[in-house]
Symmetry: C2
Subunit: 337 residues, 2 copies
DNA sequence: GTGAAAGCGCTAACAG
DNA sequence: CTGTTAGCGCTTTCAC
């Protein structure tokens, strides 16, 4: 592997000139630049990023930490982040925290050790100690999906409260009054917001929410299946259910199918977030979707701007909140007597 | 950030002793080891991987390159690879080649520059020049899914020919004779094998394959949709279709739905690979599935073994071929007159 | 068993 | 505009 020294020797300049020629072509005379480039090409020189990283304290690596890589929502986002990063000459280290703050911490430490230039994170923790643990991170941080109170960082996500509200409003207009809600992991930002959007909208319509109809699905397929089962087998079964994530919606749909409850005739279902194969799922889900690709694009460009210094490093974190889109399917129908 | 020097000073030893204490605890006296560890804890020392990497020429990073991260098949595999890697103290850099050899090359160069310890790759190229381009990679390489002729490296994948054969046999037994086949990207290993499994099985039953029934879906949803449409709207429409990937199967199912052809009554469909939530898709697909998690586990452990030296570095590449599993759904039914 | 010394390949003042 | 000089933090012989 050719080093900067080989190039310097070949071009009859010092190694610092070679370094400059690559990092700031403008600060080198045209002729020298030419010679250096020719020499570099001749010996097949490519800078060693590891050495650059050690000397400069910066790397061209960014970290992406999500709670579940195999969820297609994250998959789409990841793909876009990776695309943006690569375009800017960055590589992406991706990790799965499994929704466990301890695991997340371990990953963050690793990333920190690698001196990544920045991190995009879907945080899975909460509380004061959690927030404080971010103090030692010196690189730019962009949170997405989940927002952590008290943590000063950019946030990219969707209007979760609105998402729930749209679905609730839709079901109310269809005449439903007893609406079940399958909620995500307790204490998570998106969970709180989505539940809130639901209860607020109900309250605004003067309907008192039966708290026992808010079930705990923990953003997990199996849990959600159980929760849906319990909801569906109650004597006072709700006439409609809102599942507050794609995975939980599919689990609910499966429970509905397993019980043989006709949907939408006997039970209406509405979902937050979609899945790629929504078109071949029957009934077609009524849902509110986030644009995962766009979220990825915004997260990546924001982080890259922070890294590149386009944004003053100490600029306070900003929120980028996208409006989700309502899509009418045929899993929801007017309430029948 | 505490450095090795701080620890050395605090423990009253030289930095090389500190280095040794961590990399080869056995070569340091018990008492010294104790002191070093205590000092390290006191100053909060954590080795700088970048510096280690520069000095040793090795890193604790591995690369994973796939053709489409957002495909759930890769998602599951990725998740498992990441899990295995993290357990072994490695971080994984993941990239999406988009199935483009040029893009793949660029990524590989980047990875090479980062001195990753090893690479897991789903190769998307072919031919002599392609094979030669791997000569400059000095780190261990494990290929998965796609196999490249002439490239000496470990290979992890499924028996693709068998997968097709099982599906074909199944349809033949149901009485189907005119079977359409939606193939993947031309020249790819999996494509050739899957087509071959189909044609061989047909031939073995003495049925001549109508080559025009083998459509080109390029492992892509839109292409496959078009291909399926053409197949389905022919006057001499096949009575069954094998879609040779999950994405293409769903596209085909959608085409079937859009045309209103009753499945499985008028058209049988069988698929290679599954998708998550297959349970809520109707009709439930008859398919042959690969165990993506297991493929991930094997790929990761094999690579890690190569990196760790458990396997002689120059050991010739081995093949790890898993037998796929047949799952009967209700998208396939006996041929009707 | 432990330490001194020479790098790994590059960046970044600072002179000239 | 270009070269000199220090490192960045660690690994790795090679003596002692």
């Amino acid at each position: 592997m050719a080093t900067i020294r080989d190039v310097a020797r070949m071009a009859n300049v010092s190694i610092s000139t070679v370094s400059l020629a690559f990092s700031a072509p403008g600060r080198v005379s045209a002729e020298t630049l030419e010679r250096v480039q020719r020499a570099a090409a001749a010996v097949g020189y490519a800078a060693n990023p590891v050495a650059q990283s050690l000397a400069s304290g910066k790397s061209r690596l960014i970290g992406l930490v999500v709670a579940d890589i195999s969820n297609p929502f994250f998959g789409k986002l990841l793909k876009e982040v990776e695309r943006c990063a690569l375009t800017a000459g960055f590589l992406v280290i991706i990790s799965d925290s499994g929704g466990d703050p301890a695991q997340e911490r371990a990953i963050l430490d690793h990333l920190n050790g690698q001196r990544v230039a920045g991190i995009i994170l879907s945080p899975c923790g909460n509380g004061e100690a959690y927030v404080r643990s971010f103090d030692e991170l010196k690189m730019p941080l962009v949170m997405f999906d989940q927002k952590v109170a008290g943590l000063d960082a950019d946030f990219v996500g969707s209007d979760n409260r609105l998402a729930s509200a749209m679905l609730t409003e839709h079901l109310l207009q269809l005449g439903h009054r007893r609406i079940g809600f399958i909620a995500g992991t307790r204490d998570l930002f998106t969970t709180r917001e989505r539940v809130r959007g639901f209860t607020d909208t109900m309250a605004a319509s003067g309907i008192e929410v039966d708290r026992s109809l808010i079930a705990d699905g923990q953003y997990d397929g199996e849990r959600a299946y159980g929760a849906a089962m319990r909801l569906l087998t109650r004597p006072d079964r709700p006439s409609a259910i809102i599942a507050s994530s794609n995975v939980m919606a599919l689990a609910t749909l499966q429970a509905i199918g397993d019980l043989g409850v006709p949907c939408p005739e006997r039970i209406s279902l509405a979902s937050i977030d979609d899945v790629p194969w929504i078109n071949v799922i029957s009934p077609r889900l009524t849902m509110v979707v986030q644009d995962a690709t766009e979220l990825g694009r915004i997260s990546a460009t924001r982080l890259l701007d922070r890294i590149g210094g386009t944004i003053p490093p100490k600029a306070i974190g900003e929120d980028f909140v996208l409006t989700p889109r309502f899509i009418l399917g045929n899993s929801s129908a007017p309430l029948r007597a």
